[in-house]
């Protein structure tokens, strides 16, 4: 979080930078300070008894890192894997997690005013993981609250007790 604070200090305003990415036909974005690196999809080692959206683990320079396919989790697009499939490595609460997306598009800068609240009902997307919506170049960008998504019990990436420890 200090990086965000630093960033705000540097840019002198409420602007925050987001990394936007594509899942199926939809545009998503997440807080860029959580991004560690972006890399191509590589073969994973499957883990037993894990939900379908957890593809498995990979070796990230000696760290064993889980890979989550957000397309399966959000049920958008088709979960295909080819040379163009992208993995965004995130660093959240000292943990590294990779998320599979169809493509990474841009770094966008948004002020708090540009972030609009989602409709109050009629949307199945869990509002806990939704930071807001924004309009960028006539496209609606869904701002994901990636930290609460990754640490959520629903995703099962983090054992419940260690979440408490971190908090």
């Amino acid at each position: 979080m200090s990086e965000t604070a630093l960033h705000q200090a540097v840019t002198g305003g409420q602007d925050k930078e987001y990394l936007s990415f594509v899942l199926g036909d939809e545009h998503y974005a997440l807080d860029i300070t959580t991004v560690k690196e972006i890399r191509g999809y590589e073969q994973v080692t499957k883990i037993a008894n894990a939900p379908a959206f957890i593809k498995g683990v990979i070796n990230l320079r000696g760290d064993i890192v889980p890979i989550v396919d957000l397309r399966i989790k959000f049920n958008v697009g088709e979960a295909t894997y080819n040379d163009f499939t992208i993995v965004i490595m995130l660093n959240i609460q000292e943990r590294i997690v990779g998320i599979v997306v169809d493509g990474v598009s841009d770094v966008i800068r948004l002020s708090e005013e540009q972030v609009l609240p989602p409709p109050e009902f009629g949307v199945a997307f869990d509002s806990r993981y939704l930071h807001g919506l924004a309009d960028v170049d006539e496209n609606m960008v869904i701002l994901v609250n990636i930290e609460s998504l990754i640490t959520s019990e629903e995703l099962g990436l983090v054992a419940p007790e260690s979440v408490k420890d971190d908090a």
Partner: protein
Amino acid sequence: MSIDIEQFHSVFFDESDEHLDDMEQLLMSLDVESPDPEELNSIFRAAHSIKGGSGIFGFDALMNLTHVMENLLDKARNNELNVTADIVNVLLETLDVLKDTLNAYRDETEIPQESIDERINILNGVINGQPTDADSIGNNEAPEVSASAQSESEQDDSFGFFDNEITQANDNSDDGFGFFDDEPVSGQLDENKQDNDDGFGFFDDVPETADQNCGEKPLLSQQNDGGFGFFDEEETSNNSTASHAVKSEAANAESTKKEESQGFGFFEDVPSASNINTALNKSSDSNAENVSGRPNSTTATNDGQATKNGAVPTPAKQAAKPSAKKSTARESASIRVDTTKIDAMVNLVGELVITQSMLSMIGQDVEGQVGERLQLAIDELQRNTREIQESVMSMRMLPLTATFNRFPRLVRDLAGKLGKQVELVLQGGSTEIDKSLIEKIVDPLTHLVRNSIDHGIEMPERRAASGKPEKGTVILSAEQKGGSIIISIIDDGGGLHRDKILAKARSNGLAVSDDMPDSEVWQLIFQPGFSTAEAITDVSGRGVGMDVVRRNIESIGGRIDIESSAGEGSAFFIHLPLTLAIVDGMCVSVGKQIFVIPLLNIIESFQPTKQQLKTLGNDTVLYIRDQYWPLVPLYDFMEVEGAALSPTEGIVVLLESSKKRFGILVDALVGQQQVVIKSLEEHYRKVAGIAGATIMGDGKVALIIDADSIATTYTSSQIEELLS
């Protein structure tokens, strides 16, 4: 300027921590009735070092308090103040405040100024309030010591010898002049105190004080023998196989020191009173030689020192000269290294092992003469890597002594608070264990020891009524057994109450039955929210502990077993792996995936014939060696596709976990390899049946099988029956 100084802060904090620990140990071992001037000096020096350092760095609160403490200690060592049990208590409490203050400076939090001021007042009160009595130190009868303090001092004695041995061993081994230090120690016998001034005087005393001894050796050496003999006797009483020589020394000790013989009396009683101790005997027999060998050798060095001492008459006053011998000796023997550096090295060596196995895989593909030469070089590399790995791992290994040494204080405070009489016996402190394990074992151990004292040991009256000695014993011991370390906490208290536990389990809604075996009943206390204590004390009884204890131990790959017998005591055995980082494993393939099975668990592997496979309902069981074994198909358990489905096409690996034996079905054996265990939990979470992951030669991740966890999680009705 200030930046320059700040870089030394962490060194100062580390050193001060050490000084505080030293002071605590010395205070704990201090014989209040005839305090050893050298020990007082050591305590004084430690306080002085902290004062000096904190003055330089401007930690005023720390300096002010240590200054007053130093004044008190100065008076004590100059015989201007009688050290009493009360004063020792005050000093111990002051150490606690110093620790808090030090931590406050380290964490840059608020300085506990109030308690510092309070401490300074109390200390000043002690300094001014006590009449100074210049010539009392030698024959200090300490009449104001109350009955309870008496018992404390006895307790101190027994630990004192343990501690003394270590301090002396340190001093003597590194320092030619160390024998000066020995003299005051020997002077712990009151009647010989005056003779300290004259080295030759000892000889005169020989026939009077030690009838049983032929008097050929100088008395000093007997005293030393006696002192260490006492330590040996600890082992003797637990190991019936110990040598006669040790026993005679022990007898010697009995005749020379009454307090010690009280200690013996206790030990002699233990084996008859407790079944638990038989269990301990069994376990410590295995390394009896090891354990009893060490104290003996120490005795030998002290013999030599003592004889020297007798031959060279040295006035005891010389011993009182303060010096920095101890600290310089320690510095030359070791280097302080940041643990992150060692961890980084361990990681690098892990990578090196991976690279090495990568090379050997490539090497196998190279043919011809070059291939042979390459193979030779790779073999050499393999040997070297293994050696590097071993030496790096040994850097992380630390003796448990430092961990164990915090317990005498804990036990003393706790026993005092609860009004119980408890003697703590420490064994096998020299057992080495991975540093990361040490850090994680402290809390569970503390909890278990507290439990033993709070719940285990009964009040003195009750003990007397049930024919036990009033003073309870808690034995804390460690030993290495094969690839694991076993730490046991054994008490001779009331034991676990089977009925109470069962009743509590029922009221907590757990499924239990009256004819459950004891071992399963005891495991119930690890359930969350489980406490059978009638009243919640501030020590324990809230039931938040045992599940955390078990979770902590399991998180470092260990397990905990309980043995208990009503009215005779209970024993907790913590089994820990030697190290967390590396395991010898057998790589097996299932479908396209590779799994690693720790060699430790493997009994054998073979291709099963049709005759060896039987069906039970829908499940296949193995019939081999006249026994039926459960068979777990790994592809099923690990949800792997594309594996050989028929057992006759695959390989069966027979596994033995801590409690159960079973076979697992894999496609093929790939090869044996040392693998570096990487945590899955660091970025993911614990997965049933998997102990961790490792990175193979090709950079892919392979999962390491956890046999214990497979045995407990793989559920199939028939297999359940077979396992039970």
